[in-house]
């Protein structure tokens, strides 16, 4: 099976044709299988991330034919192109720099809630949002996240955090708003942070797509927009 791998080295992208050799008859390989075999045979210093091989850790996201996919559970077909996630800066080959996403939440999460009753059940939506594995597939097509790259360069602050938000950060904020243990003040603060990250960009957006099937459009963005009025 022929696939194309886009390697990135020293800022230069190069497309390599790779012939995947099935290990057993009828094997339908995942993208991660292809990358592992390429690393074991022709490209010994191939850089790619992976972790659990079970669609839970969120590390192996790559683009397949230009769309973000969780690599360990996405089958590859003849002629497919595998490349690094286009929505984040490439460090090397399939590895992107993810950190500036998480950094925008620093100082913006509730901490050290004491004295509250921990035995209050959380609503179903809270758990639905907790299913997020942080694969960052949701960055694809996000107008808010795209604002970080308007002039072709990253817009990161002095702490290396992106100025503008994304569905993942909004999910983290909406989780606070759904948390029965969070205080009213913390919930208000979470909404304020969402506004500051550029929530307004969501008003004209047809909606985001989650890598593991969370209803971001209604349960995250819609809920925050409703609250923002």
């Amino acid at each position: 099976m022929k696939v194309e791998l886009v390697l990135n080295r020293d800022g230069v992208a190069e497309t390599i044709a790779y012939e995947y050799v099935p290990r057993e008859d009828g094997e339908r390989p995942m993208a991660l299988d292809v990358l592992l075999q390429a690393q074991d045979t022709e490209i010994r210093d191939l850089s790619h991330r992976y972790g659990c091989r079970n669609r839970t850790c969120g590390l192996c996201t790559i683009d397949i034919n230009g769309r973000p996919r969780v690599g360990c559970r996405s089958r590859v077909r003849e002629g497919d192109t595998l490349s690094a996630q286009a929505t984040l800066p490439v460090l090397r080959d399939m590895v992107v720099r993810r950190d500036s996403i998480a950094r925008q939440m620093r100082g913006r999460l509730p901490d050290r809630v004491r004295g509250n009753d921990l035995d209050v059940p959380a609503p179903d939506d809270y758990h639905d949002l907790t299913a997020c594995i942080e694969c960052y597939a949701c960055l694809d097509g996000c107008p808010m996240h795209a604002r970080n790259f308007i002039d072709g360069a990253d817009q990161r602050d002095e702490h290396d955090a992106y100025r503008w938000g994304n569905p993942f950060s909004l999910l983290k904020l909406q989780r606070i708003r759904l948390d029965p243990v969070a205080t009213a003040q913390q919930k208000d603060d979470a909404l304020e942070v969402a506004r500051d990250l550029g929530l307004d960009a969501c008003r004209d957006c047809p909606g985001c797509k989650c890598g593991v099937g969370i209803d971001l459009k209604h349960k995250v963005v819609g809920a925050l927009l409703d609250a923002a009025g």
Binding site: E24, C57, R106, R108, H127, T130
Partner: protein, 645 residues
């Protein structure tokens, strides 16, 4: 271009960002220390995150549950290799640790009647009480908690995509209090995302960077990042390692297709009343699987395979078909499986098909590396210690899977998530209380620069070996020789192979890149894997009998009742040479032990008797049992969480 170095001054460096690292960083910062978390994978992406999300909390299910009971459960399961001070600390802290996790956003299902977190309806194997709490989204919910604790940032800074290279030590000045031994003065980190070294002047390093299951890739269900860094770094810094032969294998892992190889396909506890193990020819090799430990089941499979009765892929068959055949109790079993381990069953269906997922055919299974029970020898406050409880290196701590002493030879289900939070917090508090090093700033600077220059000189090294190829070769050797079945001959061959792989690693080609240098990263991990494998090999040679996770095909089975409990200690001398020592442990009082063993035997006998009953009678008895724990089928209790761990 030569690689640059960024210098930092930090009170506490925490290596790892999972359940233990997150708790350690948060606790140290709360105690007033400045903290730097170093993580090679993105924050929170650890074994904690990919676990089944079931945590043991004393007293959560039954009021009669005591700290003594929990501590003794751990010690009996661990064949008394456990350090009682550590099991007692564990039993003392489970509730506080669980509250801490909940303050980070972990939300259990609340039991309406009790008004507290709902526990699983059964006591997991080896626990005498119901005390395991499952969570929606499994370990992902715990991953969010660790993420929050670190990202939030009050007093905690972090680096991800950063490889912790070494803790740097110097002999401290004896100022009269007798602690003139080695002490931590610094740490060296490779920050791959920024393409530079980070040299830290610090007095405390908490090692919380997980286990070594990647030695056995792809026959493992753990995270790729578990390359034995914890043990290698600690041993190089001068710490003792304990119980390094004790690796927990999950008995029932998937063998095919390759994308699913090594992933979990259920636990002994989820095998149902009638689940059995069969060899490749269908012959029974282990009955009463439900009440067996992971170690017993793994041993049965590898012994059958070693005797030539395994499948072509080196496995045996887990046969759960009898559970579903019965007309009355069968449907209960199916419901049980899909409510107890929904995530696992989804994986089973994808890998083996619908018929297998309905348990209408047997599953081909093989053990897979899961959890390192041995590790850095510490006391109950996570201080790296040596004989007589003395600190080996002042300022060095370990927590979570990195530490040894808690589980001995066998870890009970649902205890590792508690372990991470409990001992992470303890390590963080201990580290925050360490006074600054007494070494002069010139000596400290020189010591850090010496280590840094050594690592820097690897960049651009010319050779004829590829580090990633050597890693694959090492992984094959590890599975063959220090995997779930070990022999004296195999272990001796392993030592020779390790020596040859080390020599070849010296000849590895490493590029000059500074930003994300893959060959350098591979070489760092290869070195750590070789160190971890060496420690495991030496401990496995020393323990000549089978015990817990350590199966010696050429040795007798050790006995909890008749053998004196004794751990193997591995350390490196001043010259770097490996040394082997021992430490004896107190035993569980004989009377208590007999009660445990008697109860265990009775449960097994009862289960065997059920299997021998006429089918109709058997069916009705099992139906009653299921109803007792799950409620009637027409009014099923919503148990959405898991029963494995």
């Amino acid at each position: 271009m030569p690689i640059e170095t960024e210098w930092r001054d930090v009170d506490v460096v925490v290596v790892g960002s999972g359940g233990a690292g997150g708790a350690a960083a948060h606790a140290a910062a709360e105690a007033g220390a400045s903290v730097l978390v170093v993580s090679k994978d993105p924050i929170g992406c650890s074994d904690t995150k990919i676990s089944e999300g079931i945590i043991a909390v004393r007293g959560s299910g039954e009021d009669s549950d005591t700290e003594e009971a929990l501590s003794e459960n751990l010690r009996v399961a661990g064949d008394n290799l456990n350090d009682p001070a550590i099991t007692e600390a564990f039993a003392e802290d489970t509730e506080a640790a669980y509250d801490w996790l909940r303050r980070q956003g972990l939300r259990p299902t609340i039991d309406d009647a009790k008004g507290t977190a709902k526990t699983l309806p059964i006591a997991l194997g080896g626990h005498t009480h119901r005390r395991s709490i499952g969570h929606r989204n499994g370990g992902i919910a715990f991953g969010h908690a660790a993420w929050n604790a670190i990202i939030q940032g009050a007093g905690v800074d972090y680096l991800e995509d950063a490889w912790f290279l070494d803790a740097i030590t110097l002999d401290g000045e004896d100022d009269g209090d007798g602690d003139g031994g080695p002490e931590v003065v610094g740490a060296l980190i490779y920050d791959a995302a920024r393409g530079r070294f980070v040299a830290v002047r610090t007095q405390a390093v908490v090692i919380a960077s997980g286990g070594l299951n990647t030695l056995f890739f792809p026959k493992t269900d753990g995270m790729r990042g578990n390359t034995g860094d914890s043990f290698a770094v600690a041993a190089r810094a001068g710490a003792d390692l304990i119980d390094m032969e004790q690796l927990q294998f999950l008995p029932f892992c998937i063998t095919y297709p390759p994308a699913y190889e090594g992933l979990l396909a259920g636990e002994p506890a989820t095998a149902g009343f009638l689940g059995v193990l069969r060899d490749a020819h269908g012959k029974l090799i282990l009955d009463g699987v439900m009440l067996r430990t992971r170690a017993e089941c793994s041993a049965a499979i590898v012994r059958a395979v070693a005797a030539g009765k395994g499948t072509a892929r080196g496995g045996c068959y887990l046969d759960l078909t009898a559970n579903v055949k019965a007309p009355r109790s069968g449907p209960y079993f199916e419901t049980f499986l899909f409510t107890a381990i929904p995530r696992v069953m989804a994986t089973v269906r994808q890998a083996m098909g619908k018929k297998a997922a309905k348990c209408q055919e047997s599953w081909e299974v093989r053990p897979g590396a899961h959890y390192m029970m041995g590790g850095v020898r510490v006391d109950a406050d996570c201080v790296a210690t040596t004989d007589d409880g003395r600190a080996t290196v002042r300022g060095l701590f370990a927590a979570g899977q990195a530490m040894g002493g808690l589980f001995g030879s066998n870890r009970l289900g649902s205890t590792s998530l508690s372990e991470g939070a409990i001992f992470g917090r303890r390590a963080g508090l201990s580290a925050a209380a360490i006074r600054p090093s007494t070494a002069s700033s010139e000596n400290r600077q020189a010591a850090i620069e010496r280590i840094r220059d050594g690592y820097a000189s690897r960049l651009g090294r010319d050779g004829n070996e590829s580090p990633s190829t050597l890693i694959r070769e090492l992984q094959k050797e590890c599975w063959e020789r220090i995997g779930p079945a070990r022999t004296r001959d195999g272990l001796e061959i392993m030592r020779a192979r390790l020596a040859s792989l080390r020599a070849r690693a010296e000849r590895a080609t490493i590029s000059t890149e500074t930003l994300w240098n893959q060959t350098f990263i591979d070489h760092i991990e290869l070195t750590n894997m070789l160190d971890a494998a060496e420690a495991m090999t030496l401990a496995s040679i020393d323990r000549k009998e089978s015990l817990g996770g350590h199966v010696r095909l050429d040795g007798r089975q050790a006995s909890l009742l008749f053998d004196k409990p004794r751990s193997v200690v591995i350390r490196r001398g001043a010259d770097g040479a490996w040394q082997v020592g021992h430490v004896a442990h107190p035993r569980t009082p004989l009377r208590q032990l007999l009660v445990y063993l008697y109860r265990d035997q009775m449960r097994k006998v009862k289960l065997r008797m059920i299997r021998l009953l006429p089918l109709a009678l058997q069916d009705r008895i099992l139906e009653r049992r299921y109803i007792a724990t799950m409620g009637r089928r027409d009014a099923p209790e919503a148990t959405t969480e898991g029963a494995s761990a």
